[in-house]
Each structure stands twice: as structure tokens, then as C-alpha cells.
């Protein structure tokens, strides 16, 4: 893991690589872009109701018409064959929202992971490992209790209810990031040190996860039976609740967050060299840190509020990409978004196929992929435990 060493010759190599990485979007990026529609078609084509490739291709024009033109008030292609029209409804109302939500959440989590690893200058920073997702889920649970009291249990499926949910998750997630960041960057003499302590960061993450777990259990005592069951969604994580409303809300939050994070690629690259070096390069380090913390909290919180706790995406995706393209954020950030989206869409396909017609929580799949990689990374760099 080249980017996190402070050796001077490595810094030169880093700068050299940074210069190389600036030339164009890169083959891997184009590959990811090309794969996206293909994986989307898989997401639309695979499910408990069998749809063959021919039917899917036949339906595609009307699907595109409905998905792209109808919201703008243009075009109106009806499908006349009754068998095909029910397939059309299944795809439009179930699989498309689900696939889009999976992509958005995966992209948001992966780019958040990449940005946090840059911000903490620490390869193990992942929203789920350092407790941001648990903080957000506690916030969301509190919001559910509030919504249940004010609007009623079904209220979580209206704009107002969902917005309260996202706000609650955002406050919880933001508090978690702030606590982790403050504690893991402050050295024992109280002065903010130059790099983060991995051990402290992971321990604070454990503490926050435990605290949020306790908070959730406490709420389970306060809440009535129905509210409690609604809350259990955040602890399981699932995309089966996807609908058009959730996709719209996720899109209007996560897509701007992705573009905003991409704007910080130069500053993040500079900060890899060290904070004082970044200051000399003209980066307003303090401002950049705050902006990143807030944007990451927004992206993670909305994904938790709308799809539950889905772990390890923010760890696996940026790491695999760094192995191929190196540490430059100019490519790492957009690639992470693209690959994270693809990964979660595929994980969700597995989640709905593997025990069909039952559903497996998608968080189980990502944890099965992610946890071994996490252990592998810990083993590879024994000094992670030495700080």
C-alpha cells in the first residue's frame, strides 16, 4: 500500500505516478462504464419471475421510454400483450428501482470509503468499520420512533417520513465521524497530530458500534412492537424495500455527493503527502477536512436510511482499485463510484437468487466478500497494530 508511507523517495514516486495518472480517464474507467449497462440488464433480467433475454430485449424500448421520457411528460408506449405487460410492471416497479437503489448506494458507499481513507490517511477507514454506519442507523432508529409517534408507522413511505429518516441518519452519522476523527487524530498531548492512529480509529469504531447497538436495544424497550420491527430493517440491510420514492431521494442526495467528492481529488492527493505538505501546496486543509466529513456523512447516512446497514463496500472497492491504478484520487474517486455501484448491483442479484424465492440480506453477501479482505489487509500490514 504505497500511499501511506512517509519515505521521501516514495513521495517522489508518488508524485511521478500522480503526474502519469492525470492523462485521461484510463482504460479501467472505460471498462467500468461499458460494464454498467450490461450489469444493469442482468439486474433487470434476473429474479424469481423468469424473464428470458428475448422478452427483455423486446420490452427494452418501452422500458427506456417509461424510465427516461415519461417523467419528462414525453412519450407514451403501451405494451399490449398482457403477459408482457405484467413483466413490464415487474421490471419497472420492482427491479428497476431496486437496481438503481443498489447502484446509488454502492457508488455512494464506495466513494465515501475512498474519500475517508484519503482523509484519515489510513487504508482501513471504512464507514462500517469505524462506526459511521452504526451511528447513522441509531439516528435512523430514533427517527423511526419519532415518525411512528407523529405520522404513524406507514409514514416512513412518504416524502416527509423519509426525509426525517435521512436527517436522523445524517445527524447520527455526522456525530460518529466527528468523534472518530477527533479521537483518532488527537495525540496524547492534546495537539492534533499529523496522521491518524489506526488502533485508536478502530477502537473508537468498535465503541461507537457498541454504543449504537445499545441505543438500538434501548429503543426496542421504549418502542412498541410495530415500531421495533420497522427498526430491525436497519440492522439487517436490504434493498427489497426499494421503490420510486426511495430512488428519487437517494439519487437527489448521492449523485451530488459523488460529484462533490470528486471535486476534492486534487486536495486529497496533496493530503496524502502529509498535512503540512498539503498546506504548502495551497490546500486549505481545515476547510477540506470539514467539507469531506460532512459530504461523507450525508452520503453514508442516506444510504443507511434508504437501504439499511451494508458493510465493507467502502473497503473492498477502493482497495481493489488501488492495486490496479495506484493511489491518485483523480481516478480513484470516480472509479470507486462506478465499481461500487456495479458491485452492489451484482451482490443484490446474488442476494435474491441464492435462496430464491426467499431473500438474503445483501449485507450478508458484502460482508462475506469484505471481511476476509479486511483480515488479509490486517495480516499483510502487521504494523497496523503498532501505532
Amino acid at each position: 500500500m504505497v500511499p501511506f508511507l512517509n519515505n521521501l523517495s516514495l513521495k517522489k514516486r508518488l508524485l511521478q505516478r500522480y503526474a502519469n495518472a492525470n492523462q485521461g480517464f484510463g482504460w479501467l474507467g472505460w471498462l467500468l462504464v461499458l460494464l454498467t449497462p450490461f450489469v444493469f440488464l442482468l439486474g433487470l433480467g434476473i429474479g424469481p419471475v423468469a424473464i428470458d433475454a428475448q422478452q427483455l430485449l423486446y420490452l427494452l424500448p418501452s422500458l427506456l421510454n417509461d424510465a427516461l421520457l415519461s417523467p419528462l411528460g414525453l412519450g407514451n408506449a403501451a405494451v399490449h400483450d398482457p403477459a408482457l405487460s405484467s413483466l413490464h410492471i415487474i421490471i419497472m416497479d420492482i427491479r428497476l428501482p431496486r437496481t438503481l437503489l443498489a447502484w446509488l448506494v454502492g457508488a455512494g458507499l464506495a466513494i465515501s470509503g475512498a474519500a475517508m481513507q484519503g482523509l484519515f490517511r489510513n487504508p482501513l477507514a471504512d464507514p462500517s468499520i469505524i462506526g459511521v454506519t452504526s451511528g447513522a442507523s441509531l439516528g435512523a432508529s430514533i427517527a423511526v420512533v419519532v415518525i411512528a409517534n407523529r405520522i404513524g408507522v406507514g409514514g416512513a413511505e412518504q416524502w416527509g417520513g423519509l426525509s426525517i429518516l435521512v436527517m436522523g441518519a445524517f445527524i447520527g452519522g455526522l456525530l460518529a465521524v466527528l468523534i472518530v476523527y477527533r479521537l483518532s487524530t488527537a495525540s496524547s498531548d492534546g495537539v492534533t497530530s499529523n496522521s491518524t492512529s489506526v488502533a485508536t480509529m478502530l477502537l473508537v469504531g468498535i465503541a461507537i458500534t457498541a454504543l449504537a447497538g445499545a441505543g438500538n436495544s434501548l429503543l426496542a424497550y421504549i418502542a412498541d412492537n410495530n415500531t421495533m420491527r420497522s427498526m430491525s430493517l436497519w440492522n439487517m440491510g436490504g434493498l427489497d424495500a426499494a421503490n420510486v420514492l426511495r430512488v428519487k431521494l437517494a439519487g437527489s442526495i448521492i449523485i451530488p455527493a459523488i460529484f462533490l467528492l470528486m471535486c476534492f481529488s486534487r486536495q486529497l492527493d496533496a493530503m496524502l503527502l502529509g498535512e503540512s505538505e498539503a498546506k504548502h501546496l495551497g490546500v486549505d486543509v481545515q476547510r477540506v477536512k470539514w467539507a469531506l466529513i460532512v459530504i461523507v456523512a450525508i452520503a453514508v447516512a442516506s444510504s443507511v436510511a434508504l437501504a439499511g446497514v451494508i458493510g465493507f463496500v467502502g473497503l473492498v472497492v477502493p482497495h481493489m482499485l488501488r492495486m490496479v491504478i495506484g493511489p491518485s484520487h483523480r481516478r480513484l474517486l470516480p472509479y470507486s463510484a462506478l465499481a461500487g455501484g456495479l458491485m452492489l448491483v451484482m451482490a443484490d442479484i446474488v442476494a435474491r437468487v441464492i435462496v430464491s424465492p426467499a431473500e438474503m440480506p445483501v449485507g450478508v453477501i458484502t460482508a462475506i466478500l469484505g471481511a476476509p479482505l479486511f483480515i488479509f489487509l490486517l495480516r499483510q500490514r502487521r504494523d497496523y497494530g503498532m501505532y
Binding site: 429474479g47 405484467s86 420492482i94 406507514g154 410495530n226 427489497d240 424495500a241 426467499a358 440480506p361
Partner: protein, 308 residues
């Protein structure tokens, strides 16, 4: 040599056991085997009871032992009088100190609901425990008999058990041979959950001549998606919940008119409490469910007639 020692040991154990049996007879002790295969032996009928499990509370009231109950677990809300019993535990947490201080003759406990560790802990405190794990509809009758024996209320128990048996037989005779209708039983909407073939609700559905579309899944309360419900295409959707607020969830199904049940307007709400608890009241829930399935059969018939 060894063999003879073994033999003699066995023989002495035999003598010892038979002397116990004889002594039991002499003192007219009560001995019942609980659902985990443990002998529950009492020197006299239990009159001070702690009951952990809402279905056990209901069953005890049914045989007239309600007044014996000194402590109950959370969610013991039926009959009305049960709500006033002091609480001594909820889910898997049990207030052992309180139970000991109540000095019960016997604790009735729902085994899988509270866990084997808690059963063992109660026994280690020197308290007699009957661990209950009814599975089928027939088991409820056996449960009533055991409760009656242990509390010494044999007469009222015999009446309650006979009533239960005859009602069960009646429903079986009326409904179980009718035309099979496929049923999706929805436990919860988000995440969407159903129950598999091992659950007692499945037994009730079969009693009513229905067939649970997700009976073959391996998990007892599996998560499913709307799409898998569409793929299974049930004739009836039964959405369960605890109060009328949950009934609003029925509107949710209206969008999916490709499902037979939605298309033929056979989506119903049912209160879960009377259907999921292993107590005689389950037959009230069963009656309700059977009537709903019957309604869907006549709806199908009408439809065929109008088509002709």
C-alpha cells in the same frame, strides 16, 4: 467379572427406580414428561405458578388455573385478567430473583422462546420446571392435559380438552378436504416476511384446506420479495398484524393486480395473536382463516359461472 459388576449395578439401579415408582404410587405423586423429555415430578398439585409464555397463560386460564398464576412474562395480554399479573421476564431475559421470591411450586416456560440456558438455570435454582414446545395443533390438546395434571384440575381440563378436540375435528371435517387454495401468509411488510411449513400457522392453513406457497423454505420466518409472491401467484393473501393500523398495509397490494389474490380481491387482514399462539384460542383464528379461504373459493366459483 466386569460384566457381573455392570449387571449388578444395573440391577441395583433398577431396584432403586422401581422403589421410587412404588413410593410415588404410595404418595400419589404427579409425574409428567415435558416436551424436552424431562420428568416433572410434584408431590402435590402445583398451586403457585410462574408462567413464561403468552400461550401458556391462555391455556392455563382455559382450564381454570388463572388464579394460580403469580408471575407472567411480557405480552401476556389474553385474557384481560392476565394483563394484571406481575411481570417477571420478557423475550429472553428473565428476572430470576423475582421468580425465586415468588416461591412457585412450578414454572411453565416456552422452551425455544426463552432458551435452554434459562430453563437449566431455573432448575439449578431448585425450581420445578415444565418446558413446553408445542408444534402441531394436536400438541395443544396434549399441553392442556399436562397442565391439568400438574395443577390437579382434571375435571375442568377434561372439558376444555374435549371442547378443543371436537372443535378441531369439526374444522377438519368441514374444511380440510375442500378444494385447495394457495395462500401467502404475510407476517410483516418491511422487510416482507412469511412463515414456512414448520410453523403452526402452516398447520392452520392446511386445516382450512389451504396450501402455504412458501411452506418448503428452510427458514422458519423467511424474508421474501414482492416479486417472489408474484412468481408464486397465490389465490389468497393473508396479511397479519397486531392492530388495525397494520390493516392499512393491504392497500399496498392493490398495485400488483397480476397476482390472482389481488385480481380477485382476495387480500385479507387477520389479527395475528389468535393465530400464532399455541393455545385453544388458535381455533378461533383458524375459524376466521377458514371462512376467508371459503370466501375465496366461492369467489372463484362465481367467476367461473359468470364466464360461462
Amino acid at each position: 467379572m466386569r460384566f457381573t459388576i455392570l449387571l449388578s449395578r444395573r440391577f441395583s439401579v433398577f431396584v432403586f427406580l422401581s422403589s421410587i415408582v412404588i413410593a410415588n404410587d404410595a404418595l400419589s405423586e404427579i409425574s409428567v414428561v415435558d416436551d424436552t423429555g424431562v420428568f416433572v415430578v410434584l408431590s402435590q398439585p402445583a398451586k403457585r405458578l410462574v408462567v413464561l409464555g403468552p400461550n401458556l397463560i391462555e391455556s392455563l386460564y382455559e382450564i381454570g388455573a388463572g388464579d394460580y398464576i403469580l408471575g407472567a412474562s411480557e405480552y401476556s395480554d389474553y385474557p384481560e385478567a392476565a394483563k394484571k399479573i406481575p411481570r417477571v421476564g420478557s423475550h429472553n431475559t428473565i428476572n430470576f430473583e423475582m421468580i425465586v421470591s415468588l416461591a412457585p411450586d412450578l414454572v411453565f416456560i416456552w422452551h425455544s422462546g426463552f432458551g435452554a440456558e434459562n430453563v437449566a438455570k431455573l432448575r439449578s435454582l431448585g425450581i420445578a420446571v415444565y418446558a413446553s414446545e408445542p408444534q402441531t395443533l394436536d400438541d395443544i390438546e396434549f399441553l392442556l392435559n399436562d397442565l391439568g395434571q400438574l395443577t390437579g384440575l382434571s375435571e375442568s381440563t377434561a372439558i376444555a380438552a374435549a371442547q378443543y378436540r371436537s372443535e378441531l375435528n369439526r374444522l377438519q371435517n368441514v374444511y380440510s378436504q375442500k378444494k385447495t387454495v394457495s395462500v401467502f401468509y404475510q407476517v410483516w411488510h418491511e422487510p416482507m416476511q412469511t412463515l414456512n411449513g414448520e410453523h403452526v400457522v402452516n398447520a392452520v392453513i392446511e386445516l382450512c384446506g389451504g396450501q402455504n406457497v412458501f411452506a418448503s423454505l428452510s427458514e422458519i420466518a423467511p424474508r421474501v420479495s414482492i416479486e417472489s409472491v408474484i412468481a408464486m401467484n397465490p389465490d389468497v393473501i393473508i396479511s397479519s398484524g397486531s392492530d388495525s393500523r397494520d390493516a392499512r398495509e393491504l392497500d399496498f397490494w392493490q398495485r400488483w393486480s397480476m397476482i390472482n389474490a389481488v385480481h380477485n380481491e382476495q387480500v385479507y387482514f387477520i389479527k395475528a395473536d389468535s393465530l400464532v399462539r399455541h393455545a385453544p384460542r388458535i381455533l378461533q383464528g383458524a375459524q376466521q382463516l377458514c371462512e376467508l379461504l371459503e370466501r375465496s373459493r366461492s369467489a372463484q366459483k362465481n367467476k367461473v359461472q359468470t364466464n360461462e
